[in-house]
Symmetry: C2
Subunit: 338 residues, 2 copies
DNA sequence: TAAATATGCACAAACGATTGTACAATTCAA
DNA sequence: TTGAATTGTACAATCGTTTGTGCATATTTA
């Protein structure tokens, strides 16, 4: 990188002091009564030399970074990628810059990134945690860093979050199956210890219980395509199969689909399927898959509004928001009533 | 944010100087013969106070940021999200941190982000440009910032890039259609001025020409779902329809699919379809869509290897790499020969 | 015309970390 | 016992900005 121009270079070239240069370049020429002529000269030279203020120096001095950090567990998951895209656009509206990092569903990476973010003086943090540990997040929160959890949160903490009503969503999904006469259902779950997963499983079980159904199973352990695939494969080894599957994420559904296809199991004739998370492609599948859609845009907007308001005020208002999911009715559930 | 601990706090608490603290914390205690006892005390206190070095100060002093910037046009496009995820993981292996930013297919945002990256002293840049302008990218490149273009590049410049053989890919795709007897083909393109688009269109046209077919059209103007949708909708207004469609990206294909479905056009019975870009879900569609797969992982790995080698050496070696695409044969093309 | 006010700008300290060098204290050799 | 060598640490400058304050010079007022 060729030597970058700094404020000193401009000062030298214009014959003015760095003070004056700085003031002009920060739009404070009025306040400090810099002569119009000086102002123009400085601006011209800055333009000519292609000056860009060193962010480190600025931030070091001001303590402000104008940056919001975003940690997502995996950008290759369209659900999270979509969130990242939304957050990115929304953050820009507020005049901040987003730094997005992918933690790869790895708590250690998550911790490291958190440290880096702190070292970079981020002003606010939006995080979709891996979900296995919370100590490090709790720490930075109590140290005063404004943050909002997205999607995955920790029920027992007072940290702000915006998420979907996972219990309700799962309950709705299970109920839909039940209402179509399904009495033997398999639920393929994601990360066992994560709150959304726990609540989804809880909602699922509650629906089963309320309907007096005991023939159900919950398997799996990751929000991944592989997990959906292998669990479905294993399922299909058995002679006795459930009549319906409920996958707790779009990635799991994708893996499930793959396994079903390999074994030539048709949806919904041979088995019914419903999944958490919506996506455009679900409409175009061999059988469009009924899904529980999370209000992603609203989640992002609210999270950011929440965060920004905490950024500006010294007092923190803790807001924990749960939004209602919505069923996208498609054709993957067969009615087997009687 | 409660006052962060700095090196001074540790110095005060240990009764040692900031110099000594800094040296210990940077693993230079050997070099400067810091007493083992001092070292242990400092390390203990740093741990206790939860010290994190201020990245701005460090970088300001050293001029190093240990950061690679990545600009993608849209994270909601799975193709780019996937690249981001790959790059992120790959960069970590080299000990750097990735900062990902979404330019929203907006050149102005791209320019702004570039400035911010420079202000943040990024050491290397990977960029998938919006594709409409190149001046700003050219400038930073010639100022000495190591960078690699991904996917979209500029043929006439000597800037390094890694991309797919777009001409070849499109030629293969068109040829596949032709070999199945198609003589009336519609191509829905993306951003008209972008290199990949131009080359794909060129490959498409060349195949047509080589086969002596003149009944083809190229329409559209964006790598977006909307573009695919509206172009297909418009197409379907006509009485005379092509027998096949070639979409130049997965997003366009998605929109096309939507329109076809709305109009109850079946694939491949009523119309055949082939698309650029591969994705897992293409396998599970009503009719699995044949696609031209780009070697995403390889692209990312090579790009990064390329970038890192330029990071370490003062001399820049310009590498422009074109990788071969691959056809993923699925069931969306009907044979209408004779 | 002298005093008061306004105008335009620069000095120097500070942000937090790093580092060449200098210096005091300890140990060693003779 | 004294000078040399070794050991352990601190001083102070520096990175590029920002900013409170103060000092000239110019302008206005009476």
């Amino acid at each position: 990188m060729s030597a970058k121009v700094n404020i000193k270079d401009i000062a030298k070239k214009t014959g003015l002091s760095t003070t004056t240069v700085s003031r002009v370049l920060n739009g404070k020429s009025e306040k400090y009564r810099i002569a119009e002529k000086s102002k123009q000269i400085i601006e011209a030279v800055a333009l000519e030399l292609n000056y860009v203020a060193n962010h480190f120096a600025t931030s070091l001095k001001s303590g402000k970074s104008n940056t919001i950090g975003l940690i997502v567990p995996s950008l290759s998951n369209p659900f999270f990628a979509n969130i990242a895209s939304n957050i990115n656009a929304e953050v820009r509206k507020y005049g901040y810059t987003t730094i997005i990092v992918d933690s790869d569903e790895n708590v250690e990476i998550e911790k490291t990134v958190l440290q880096q973010f702190i070292a970079r003086n981020i002003e606010g943090l939006i995080i979709i945690p891996c979900g296995k540990e919370m100590e490090h997040i709790k720490n930075v929160y109590y140290q005063g860093l404004p943050l909002v959890l997205l999607d995955r949160y920790f029920e027992e903490l007072e940290i702000p979050y915006v998420s979907t009503d996972n219990f309700e969503g799962a309950y709705m999904a299970a109920n839909l199956l039940i209402n179509h006469g399904h009495k033997s259902i398999l639920c393929i779950q994601g990360i066992v210890d994560s709150t959304p997963n726990k609540l989804r499983v809880k909602g699922f079980k509650q629906a089963m219980k309320d309907a007096g159904i005991e023939n159900f199973k919950v398997v799996g352990d990751a929000f991944s395509v592989e997990n959906g695939y292998s669990e479905t494969k294993m399922l299909l080894q058995n002679k006795v199969r459930p009549t319906a599957i409920f996958t707790l994420s779009n990635t799991i559904a994708m893996g499930c689909l793959k396994a079903l296809k390999e074994e030539n199991i048709r949806i919904p004739q041979d088995i019914s399927l419903i999944t958490f998370d919506n996506h455009l492609y679900l409409d175009f599948l061999a059988t469009p898959i009924t899904s529980i859609a999370q209000p992603v845009e609203a989640i992002c907007k609210i999270a950011l509004k929440n965060l920004i308001s905490n950024l500006n005020e010294k007092e923190k208002t803790v807001k924990q928001v749960i939004l209602k999911p919505e069923i996208k009715y498609r054709e993957s559930i067969s009615n087997i009533k009687n």
